[in-house]
């Protein structure tokens, strides 16, 4: 282990710099709380900074640490107007047409799980990132990082399922790359896919568009994929019939956009970090509050049960074939109907609405009848799941 500075001393020194206790003691006792709150708000708005000296698993959890890493390292280095909205895919104009471009890497363990494998995940994930940004997915690339000793039969199985998923989604894999690394330098097989799609003129989706009065929809029960993969690792000795929800949602998205022209403000696919993370991104990007009702959020009994046992919240569990849509309130019912008519959206539901106060915050009305704030995930005690 490398020697680290004592962070406690550092933090206390920083504290001394920030606080003028004499000034604090002059403030009337009744106003001190406000002063502390103001100080916290200032700290929140401060530029993101990665404090750790090394990458930890929390940086990959999709929660707070991931956002800090992206903002402080990647966004800071690559900053440009196309990257800044931080949507699932970038939308750009090339040769007179609008396209969407996205990329994603897949490191799921185990490679094969009930309802899917790393292959269809790699196709569906990228297709979905394009679809929710309003694009019609067209062409994909596929890069493979293979570990020495990986069975060729497994690779064939993965690639066959990629082909089937691509056919189902109506896209083609048109370029690729292969690297082999020494045994122990990777975990069997990692896949990266990138994709391009065509964005119709006039369609401009984005979470920053959310407005008070809008409705929040999810396209089906949440958390199936994450829980399936956790159980497939076999560490928990729980048997269920649960299968991953991995699927390409471009058909569902097309149906939705056609049913409520101009009514959809934004869509996201609820992968890493789950629905809670997306709702927080909406609240922060649009400076609105998102109010959801626990009773209305579809969760399968198996997912609820496993989540209860594991002490996790389905709201943070990954899906691979579910979208969250922010829709104009007046178009909410029509949007829900359109989802219901598609096989992938049969169990869709309106789960909440956008309000104005308190801005930047996601509120949950619990089934028990109380309320709580749903924050971004801090840390991640769970092994990687997508």
């Amino acid at each position: 282990m490398t020697e680290q500075k004592n962070w406690v001393e550092e933090a206390l020194a920083e504290h001394e710099n920030q606080i003028d206790q004499r000034h604090f003691s002059k403030v009337a006792p009744g106003e001190r709380e406000a002063l502390v709150l103001e100080r916290i708000d200032r700290a929140r708005r401060a530029r993101a900074r990665v404090k750790e000296e090394r990458i930890t698993l929390a940086h990959g959890s999709g929660g707070k640490a991931t956002h800090t890493l992206i903002e402080a390292i990647f966004l800071d280095a690559f900053r440009n107007p196309l990257l800044e909205p931080m949507e699932d895919a970038a939308r750009l104009t090339m040769a007179g047409g609008r396209i969407a471009l996205t990329t994603d890497s897949y490191v799921v363990s185990p490679l094969f799980f009930p309802g899917g494998d790393i292959g269809d995940l790699a196709i569906n994930g990228t297709v979905n990132d394009l679809a929710v940004s309003g694009a019609t997915p067209m062409y994909l690339s596929a890069g493979f990082i293979l570990e020495e000793g990986f069975p060729v039969a497994d690779l064939q199985r993965v690639v066959a399922s990629m082909r089937a998923a691509a056919d189902a989604a109506g896209v083609q894999v048109v370029t690729g790359d292969t690297k082999v690394v020494q045994r122990g330098k990777a975990d069997g097989c990692y896949i990266n896919t990138a994709g391009v799609g065509v964005v119709p003129d006039g369609l401009d989706l984005g979470v920053a568009n959310a407005k008070p009065g809008d409705a929040v929809l999810v396209s089906g029960p949440i958390g199936d994929h994450g829980v399936t993969v956790m159980l497939a690792r076999g560490e928990l000795d729980i048997d269920t019939d649960l299968t991953s929800d991995t699927a390409a949602v471009n058909g569902l998205v097309a149906d939705l956009l056609a049913a409520v022209p101009g009514g959809v403000r934004a869509m996201r696919d609820a992968t890493r970090g789950g629905v809670a993370t997306i709702l927080n991104e909406v609240a922060k990007a649009a400076n609105v509050s998102v109010v959801v009702a626990e009773d209305d959020i579809p969760v399968r009994a198996e997912v609820r049960g496993a989540s209860e046992l594991l002490g996790i919240d389905p709201l943070y569990v990954a899906c691979e074939g579910r979208i969250v849509a922010i829709v104009d309130g007046t178009a909410a019912d029509a949007a829900l109907d359109a989802m219901h008519r598609n096989p992938l959206g049969r169990e869709a539901a309106i789960v909440g609405r956008i309000a104005d106060d308190p801005p930047g915050i996601v509120l949950l009305r619990t089934a028990f009848g109380g309320t709580r704030i749903v924050d971004m995930l801090v840390g991640d005690p769970l092994p990687r799941i997508c």
């Binding site: 282990m1 933090a11 106060d357 109380g370």
Partner: protein, 375 residues
């Protein structure tokens, strides 16, 4: 979902809330401590405080077993994990808890072999699979988890597994409650007793609380209605001028505890003369260590453990916050040196800790949140 939804029924909650409100004496403030971190989690997860009148405050107690492990012990664990050929195994919730040189997560990123397990028996499995490694289990928790550690040690002895040991940090709840009761500035009217701990130790160990301190205790279950009913039972006791030990969680907690579990703990572990708690300082007879008979499974015997005490920073006032004397924002380091990303004290470590909750959401009063969700 059966056996869960029955205990989360909103109509029953409304009825109970009305009865609780009816018992509040005008002008009187009530402060109850829920000792157990599991209760804090339920209260937070279900928004239970919305059902309570403004005059009833719940004080979050010291019963989060990972939060009370002091920095020095985390540093010791880190030293153990870094020893040659060691695989350190730990529950997931311990991974984020900071020592003076960072957390298990940080150490893992530095290449130390630390693995998450769901049960100490999983550590034993890892020991069986890796005979050339020395597997250490980071044993933490109150009497709730101590029996499973004890059974694992017994199993290891039975199977003759020699490359397995535990780093014992098990703590006992009663001395911590006593330390809180003994503080001169205490302002508590009663306790929600820790349900899971009580499944093991039963209800008798709390009798001194009513006998010597005149405070009522209701051992409570972990569903929201369990907690609401327990608060109701506390209010009834106060109203009738009683201070007794009651068992709301009788569907799980036997009055005399679980004798098999207690026997397993007693066979393998004994009380330490004293142990340090983050935020509360040294408390005598408040923790367990491995008995000499099982010293071959005691990581503290097998390895060089630095045992250097890392004092809580003087400015850290977790003790006062835990006792309900200070509000989180009144602590000297709150929000500057001590934040959820770099927690110093126990109240900031867990997201449900009083300070972490206040840091994240303190600017939203319950009233504002209620109005926003009602519209």
């Amino acid at each position: 979902m059966r056996f869960v939804d029955e205990f989360r029924d909103a109509d029953t909650a409304h009825a109970l809330a009305a009865k609780i409100a009816g018992l509040c004496e005008p002008g009187r403030q009530y402060k109850f401590m829920e000792v157990c971190g599991g209760h804090t989690h339920t209260i937070y997860k279900h928004g239970l405080e919305d059902y309570l009148p403004e005059t009833i405050t719940l004080v979050h107690g010291p019963g989060c077993p990972v939060c009370v492990i002091p920095m020095g012990r985390v540093d010791d664990a880190m030293a153990l994990a870094s020893a040659p050929d060691v695989i350190m195994t730990s529950f997931g919730d311990m991974m984020r808890v900071p020592g003076s040189k960072g957390s298990f997560f940080d150490a893992k990123a530095n290449g130390v072999d630390i693995r998450m397990v769901y049960s100490p028996l999983d550590s034993l499995k890892i020991a069986r699979q890796n005979p050339d490694k020395r597997v250490v289990f980071m044993a933490i928790g109150f009497e709730t988890t101590a029996p499973s550690t004890a059974m694992t040690v017994l199993r290891a002895a039975q199977e003759g597994i020699e490359n397995f040991s535990i780093f014992c940090n098990h703590v006992t709840i009663v001395p911590a409650i006593k330390a809180i009761l003994d503080s001169p500035d205490l302002r508590l009217d009663g306790f929600l007793g820790p349900g899971h701990v009580s499944t093991v130790i039963g209800c008798r160990p709390y009798e001194f609380i009513s006998r010597d301190y005149g405070k009522p205790v209701v051992v409570a279950g972990f569903e929201p209605l369990d907690i609401l009913q327990s608060i109701y039972l506390l209010m009834v006791q106060l109203h009738e001028g009683r201070a007794e030990i009651e068992n709301q969680y009788s569907r799980v907690v036997p009055w005399n505890g679980n004798l098999v579990a207690l026997k397993a703990i007693n066979e393998t572990m004994e009380l330490r003369p004293y142990f340090e708690w983050r935020g509360l300082g040294f408390i005598s007879h408040s923790a367990l260590r491995v008995r000499e008979k099982y010293a071959r499974f005691d990581a503290e015997e097998l390895f060089q453990v630095p045992g250097v005490r890392v004092a809580d920073p003087k400015a850290c006032q977790c003790g006062e916050v835990l006792k309900g004397v200070l509000k989180p924002w009144e602590c000297k380091v709150f929000g500057t040196a001590c934040t959820p990303e770099t927690p110093i004290g126990t109240c900031m470590v867990s997201p449900e800790g009083a300070c972490a909750a206040y840091y994240n959401f303190g600017r939203f009063t319950r009233q504002r949140v209620k109005e926003a969700t009602a519209r």
